[in-house]
Every structure is written in C-alpha cells, then in structure tokens.
C-alpha cells in the first residue's frame, strides 16, 4: 500500500508540477515580485554596462577625431613645399577608404604689402573644416571665392585685414579677408585661401595631404600600408604621437570599464544570491510538507530550480529593456550620441542570471537536506 501511495504521489507530483509552480509564484506574490525585481536589477546592470562597453571603442575613437590628421602624405623628400602629383588627393582618398577625411594643402611663400614674407596656404575649405575642428575661425572663406582667413600673427603683418594684397613670383593678388584664424600653432603665422584661388594665382599644386583615418592604431597602420603601395614615391607618415596616445588611452579606459563591469556584476550577483536563497530557505515548511507527502529530494530541487530559472528569464527580459534604456541615457548624457540596444548582450546576461538563480536555489538545498520533515512540521 505504501508503494501504491508513493506511486500515486509521484504521478500526482509529475502532473501537478506546472500547477504547483504557478501557485507557488502567485501565492507568495510579494516574495516572487521581490525576487523578480532582484533578477531584473542584476540583468539591467549587466545589460547597461555591456552595451556601453561594446560601444566604447567607437565612441572614444570618435572623441579623438578632434585631434585632426593622423597621417600626413608629402613628396618623397617629405617637404610639404614640394608639389605632389595633381591626382594625389583622390588617390589618397581611394587608398585610405571612404570614411577617412582627406584634406590637401598647398604652400607658397609670398610677400605682403608691407614687404614681409608670409606662408600662404591653399586649402580645400570643406575638408579642412571637417578635419581641423579645433581651428577658431571668425568666418570661413567661400569654397571658390577670392577670400582668405588670416592667422592671428600674420594679420599683424598686412596693411589692411579686409583687403589683403600679396605678391608671389611677381604676380599679385588681392583677397578679401573674412576674419582671423586662431590655433596657437604654425597656422597663426599663415594666410589660408581656397585651393582654386591659390592655384590660379601661384600655379602651385598641393604639397601635402593630411588624412584622418578613423579608428585605432591597427586601422591607421593598415591604411598607411595601403597608401604606401598606392602612392609609390611619396612619403606617408603616421603622426605617431597621436596614434599611439589614442590607442593607449582607449585601451586603458576600456580596461577600467571592464574592471567596473566585473566589480558591479559581482556585487549585484551576491546581493541577489542573498535575496533568492533566503526566499528558498523561508519555505522550509512547504518543503517539509511536500517531502511528507512523498516528494523526492530531486523533484523538489527541480521545482525550486525551475522556479528560479523562470524568474531569472523574466528578469532578463525586463532587465534588458531597463538596462538598454540606461545605457542610452548615459551615452546620450556623456557622449551626445545614442547607444542603440544590442541583442548581442542577451546571451551573457542570460547566462549570468541563470547562474545566479541556479546557485541561489541549489545552495540552500544542502541546508534543507539535513532537515527532518516531521520535526520541521511539528515546529521544532
């Protein structure tokens, strides 16, 4: 008879598992909610940090674009005064890739109306604007105009800043000065005008092409190799200080973020573990009752586990939404660009939550095993 009861109980348990699970979750609603909340927090934190982390490189590299060109192409003698082949800029663009910013510059030494020699440079206005964001310019000259910007030092060496008269090889030109240029570098001593006006006046073509290859050192090196093979006879030099510094800072920031991710995941993980395992321990009486009704240790563990995994799964869904929103807000606040939600972070987040849930339900089982159902039910 005992065998029959046992078998019936077993069959009953098997049939009733989903029902028991549902009842267990619904009956102790506040307990289930707090466990779900804990799992949601852990999933949200992991999602937010992983989403930020996976986008960090691109975001940081974009910040470094402010430093301008990281590769300079010049003639074989590496003197920007020597003219390059006329199609050099186009070939550099092809070799460097469509996402690179390419700005050709031409240089000549002209004489101002006060008789001072001054470096005059021709530039591609649009490309220069994109490349040299640190230039402080009152107004940019029109792309094909006879207008010029004057470096803040050079401006002191012309008679009239608004009608700049320059002479190069006996040919003079009159440019409309549209404003001053302030950089704190060599540019302060130069006068910049659009390339078309410069070439028409001096007959000198581009002498240097400044290139900004987006991305880290590896991408820059690859682009340099491509440019060297596409432009034989020219010197292609990475601006080493920029490339190395950028990589080092991005690497370190990423490592710092990684450390933070691990640390925070650990903290939240342990707290969730404490919450979840307490919720299992609290149900000693249910456990004892089920044991007394003939449930086996394994079956009960299975049920706890299933319940915890269900909560963990639900936590990942809610946490992914909350975490992606948090990552979006952080990135919007700090980098002024959004970080889009990533589905790729779901597997690691799910894994983390499942591991926490599994440990949280298995850990107390050791404690439960030692308990005598009868003693527990009697209230001892």
């Amino acid at each position: 008879m005992a065998v029959a009861t046992h078998a019936a109980a077993r069959r009953g348990t098997r049939l009733a598992l989903p029902r028991m699970l549902r009842q267990s979750l619904l009956h102790r609603r506040s307990r289930s909610l707090s466990a779900l909340l804990a799992m949601t927090v852990s999933a949200a934190v992991a999602t937010a940090l992983l989403t930020l982390y996976s986008d960090l490189d691109a975001k940081l590299h974009r910040e470094f674009r402010g430093f301008g060109a990281n590769v300079v192409v010049a003639g074989a003698a590496n003197r920007p005064g020597d003219a390059l082949p006329p199609d050099a800029a186009a070939r550099v663009q092809t070799a460097a890739g469509a996402d690179a910013t390419v700005a050709p510059f031409a240089y000549a030494v002209a004489t101002t109306d006060r008789g001072t020699p001054v470096v005059v440079a021709g530039m591609d206005v649009d490309a220069t604007r994109r490349l040299n964001t640190w230039w402080k310019v009152d107004a940019w000259p029109g792309a094909a105009s006879a207008e010029a910007v004057l470096g803040q030092k050079a401006a002191n060496f012309v008679a009239d800043e608004h009608a700049v008269k320059l002479t190069f090889a006996g040919r003079s030109i009159s440019l409309r000065g549209v404003g001053r240029l302030r950089t704190g570098g060599d540019e302060d001593s130069r006068i910049y005008l659009p390339m078309s006006a410069f070439t028409a006046w001096t007959g000198v073509g581009p002498g240097a092409v400044e290139v900004q290859v987006p991305g880290g050192a590896a991408k820059v090196e690859a682009a340099v190799t491509r440019m060297r093979s596409a432009l034989p006879g020219l010197s292609v030099n990475p601006v080493r200080a920029l490339v190395e510094g950028e990589n080092r800072i991005v690497d370190r920031t990423r490592a710092l973020m990684f450390g933070s991710v691990v640390l925070i995941a650990l903290t939240v993980g342990v707290s969730v573990l404490a919450t979840m395992s307490a919720s299992v321990l609290e149900r000693r009486r249910d456990f004892a009752l089920m044991r007394a009704l003939g449930g086996s240790q394994g079956q009960l563990l299975q049920m706890f586990l299933l319940e915890a995994l269900l909560l963990a799964g639900a936590g990942v869904v809610a946490g992914w939404i909350v975490g992606s929103a948090a990552a979006w807000v952080i990135s919007e606040a700090n980098f002024d660009t959004a970080t889009l939600p990533r589905l790729a972070v779901v597997p690691p987040v799910l894994l983390l939550n499942l591991v926490i849930a599994a440990i949280a339900s298995v850990l107390p089982a050791r404690v439960l095993r030692g308990l005598e159902p009868a003693a527990l039910l009697k209230g001892e």
Partner: protein, 463 residues
C-alpha cells in the same frame, strides 16, 4: 540586556549575517573603488594626454612672422626676437604655478652641416662640421641643418623637466645628453648632443662619433632620436651649450652668442576644459568676474598670467591639443562618474533588498520578542542597531578592499603614474554613510512590516 541580545544575534546567526555582510562589503568595495578611480581619472588621463605635447606655447611677442612649412624654416636669416631663459623662473610665481607639469624651452639655430672624411692618421677627428652663419660653407656640399638647444632633465621647482618629458613620443637610442655637463676629452671642450635619425643616416653618424660645432667645441653624439617629425633631421644640444651654435665668420672666428636666449617655450599644464566663460576676454569682464576668470585653471587664464609675468612674451593655448584634450578628458571622467552612479544605484538596490530579506526571515523572532513584552520601539531599535553594526563593519572592510582594489587597478592600468596615496580619507565617511543609509533603507520597511503583524499569528505561522 539590549547589548546582550545584539551580541547573541551576531554570535548565533553567523551565516545569515555573513551573507548580508558580504553584500554590504562588496557594495562598499565597488563604490569605494569606483569613486576613488573617478576622482583621480582626470589627473591620470591628463598625464596620458601629455603625449600630445604642450598645451600652451610662449613665443617672443616681438618676433617676426614664422615662415615655416612642415618644420622647415624658410625665413631669411634676419635678426629675431628672443626670450630670456632666466625669465622662465617667473613661471613659478604665477597663480597656477602648481598646475604646470612641464616646461621645455628651445632655441632654434639654422646652420650648415658638412660631412668630413675621417682623419685616419690621427685616429681622432670629427665626422661632420656644423657651423652657424659660416660664409666659407656657401657653395660647398654643406646642407642646411637646424640645431636646437633644449633642456633635457632640468630641475624646475620640484619638477624635472625638459624636451623628453614634453615629447614622450620621441624615442631615443643611446641616452639623452646631460645638462650642464662639459667634459674635456681632448684639447677641445665637449658637450653631449643627440641627433635625429634621418640626419644620422644621411651623414652616416653613430653614437660615439663627434661633430665639430661652433669654433672650438666638439659635440659628442650620445643618442639618436626618432620623432617622426622634423626633429629627425635636427641636432639637439643642451641649451647651456648654445655657445656651440655661435656664428662663425669668414675667418673662422666665433662671434659672441646671444646669452641665455630662447626662441620658444612649450608648457604642459593641467587645465580645466574650456567653457563659455573661459572664452571671454578678461578685459571686458567686471572686476569680480575677472577675478573668478583669473582664478580658474583655464588654458586661457594660465596663458594670460604668463603674459603678465614675462614681459615681451606672447603665450597662447595650443588649440589642437587643448580643445581636444579637454573634450576627451570630459568624456572619460564623465563616463566614470556615470558608471559610478550606476554602480551606486545598483549596489544600493541590491544591498537593501538583501537586508530586507534578512529581516523578513526573522519574523518569528520578532513575534517572540513582542510576546515576551518587548515594545515595538525596543524591537525596532535592536534590529536597526544590528543593521548599523553590520553596515559600519562591512562598510569599513569594503572601504579598505575598495581602496586597495582602486590602487591596484590604477597601478596596472596607468603604470607611468607616481604612486599616489592608496587611501583617500575623504571617501571613508562617504562610504560608511552610504552603507548605513542603504542598509537602513532596506531594513526599515521590513522591520515596520514585521511589527505590524500580531505576535501570535507570526509565531503560529513561523512555527
């Protein structure tokens, strides 16, 4: 009685307390480490960004226009204006003197260099000759080579600074020349110099060779510099030895060099990223506003103070470095602060949840205490005292662990850093306070809930 209850609670429920304690400890560790890193990240990244070189440059205000393309000076040789090297000491007296982390003066001299056949018979002779303004070299095979006087490792206040510090991307084979080191190996006076890699290749020069400089000096090559820019084609010599660059006349006699002249000074300073206020012209501000502008470490304010301190100097921020550096600095430290805030919220939430659970578990105990005649206040006081003890102890250990972790991470990630203080005492009260607040926030609602229940019902249910 109260203290005995408190003591017994910790003694008997070790496992339960341990789990809640570990949660607080880890939370405090994470928060301490993140805050410690976030407060120092600015300085660290600034030091990393030093690879981009100076962010302020001083030139003589009266200087003629630079005619310079790609590091090649195309200016006709005319008299130029210089700064006095001795004036640099005045930098130590400006308001933000302590923010100056590097100073590198330089003196450019355009000379001509000529390869010399080795003097085999004597077994000792120069490998090349470099003279400034020597008319005898016109029409010879000599090529124009710029020589630059630098500081190499000069004590400046409590800094040791110079060109290698301001240009960390310069790579040296051999070693940097020593400042102040005049050795007399042969009949002539000698100074240590370094030369650029391209120049060394072009003239076939090696470490150990020497160059005849000025009239009576030998420059012993002790290092070869690879910089990736125009420096690769230059001679670098100690600024003290500018006598080596004194002009040589047609008769081979040396002129008297400009004493302690400097054509340019590069400054690396810790600055605050520029905002709208920083861009204002100080002359247009009211006196009180001007005072505020002056006392903020903007690159513009520091440059302004340098112009005030050194007569005849023009100091400008190097916008390429300063603007972008400020941006990168702002983003990275902003990121650290936001992540710290996220860590704080998450840790706070998780820890208070763990604390709430720890209390709810003990409803039976509360019921027992109540039925034995303890007042609600007494029970609440007991549980809150437990929470407080746990928070303070775990928070303290968390602070220690977190400080250690931050120091370790800092050293691993930024090995160039000078070892700073491991413990930031300001963080201790902050972290303990946060631990107390979070633990109390977690346990108070749980205690209140437990106290609301009838003791008999709790005891029956919890039996």
């Amino acid at each position: 009685m109260f203290f005995r209850l408190l003591w017994e609670s910790f003694r008997r429920q070790r496992r339960r307390k341990l789990l809640a304690g570990v949660a607080i400890l880890l939370g405090a560790t994470a928060v301490t480490a993140m805050l410690a890193l976030a407060t120092t990240i600015g300085d660290r990244i600034h030091r990393e960004l030093a690879v981009y070189g100076a962010n302020i440059v001083i030139t003589p205000a009266a200087a003629g226009l630079d005619v310079n393309v790609g590091g090649v000076d195309l200016r006709p040789a005319t008299a130029n204006a210089y700064l006095k090297e001795s004036d640099l000491d005045k930098l130590r007296g400006i308001f933000w003197a302590n923010n100056i982390t590097g100073v590198s003066p330089e003196l450019d001299l355009s000379g001509m260099m000529l390869k010399v056949a080795p003097m085999d018979t004597l077994g000792y002779g120069p490998s090349a000759v470099w003279h400034v303004g020597d008319p005898r070299m016109d029409g010879s095979e000599a090529v124009p080579v710029t020589g630059v006087g630098y500081w190499f490792a000069r004590p400046f206040g409590n800094l040791t600074t110079g060109a290698p510090q301001l240009h960390p991307w310069w790579k040296i084979t051999g070693r940097w020349p020593g400042d102040h080191e005049v050795r007399s190996t042969h009949a002539e006076e000698a100074e240590e110099i370094a030369i650029g890699a391209t120049l060394a290749r072009r003239f076939g020069l090696h470490i150990g060779d020497w160059i005849h400089m000025g009239t009576e000096f030998e420059g012993d090559i002790v290092g070869i510099v690879t910089a990736g820019d125009a420096t690769d084609e230059r001679i670098l010599f100690p600024l003290d030895a500018t006598v080596m660059g004194s002009p040589v006349d047609a008769a081979g006699h040396g002129g008297v060099p400009e004493s302690s002249a400097v054509s340019r000074v590069e400054i690396s300073a810790r600055t605050r990223p520029e905002d709208t206020f920083a861009r204002k012209d100080p002359e247009t501000l009211s006196p009180s506003q001007r005072e505020i502008w002056y006392c903020r470490p903007y690159a513009n304010s520091i440059a302004f103070q340098i112009r005030e301190a050194i007569p005849g100097a023009d100091a400008q921020q190097v916008r390429r470095v300063e603007q972008s550096e400020g941006n990168v600095l702002k983003r990275i430290s902003g990121l650290m602060w936001l992540v710290s805030a996220a860590a704080l919220v998450a840790a706070g939430f998780a820890v208070s949840a763990a604390m709430a659970t720890a209390i709810l578990e003990r409803q039976g105990e509360i019921g027992l205490l109540r039925s034995l005649g303890a007042s609600r206040t007494a029970v609440a006081a007991l549980f809150l005292a437990e929470t407080a003890v746990l928070a303070v102890v775990a928070g303290l250990f968390g602070f220690l662990c977190g400080s250690g972790l931050a120091a370790w991470l800092g050293r691993r990630l930024f090995p160039t850093d000078a070892a700073g203080a491991v413990f930031n005492p300001v963080l201790l009260p902050v972290v303990i306070g946060l631990a107390l607040a979070v633990a109390a926030a977690g346990s108070t609602p749980a205690i209140r809930q437990a106290l609301k229940l009838e003791p008999s019902a709790v005891l029956r249910a919890g039996a």
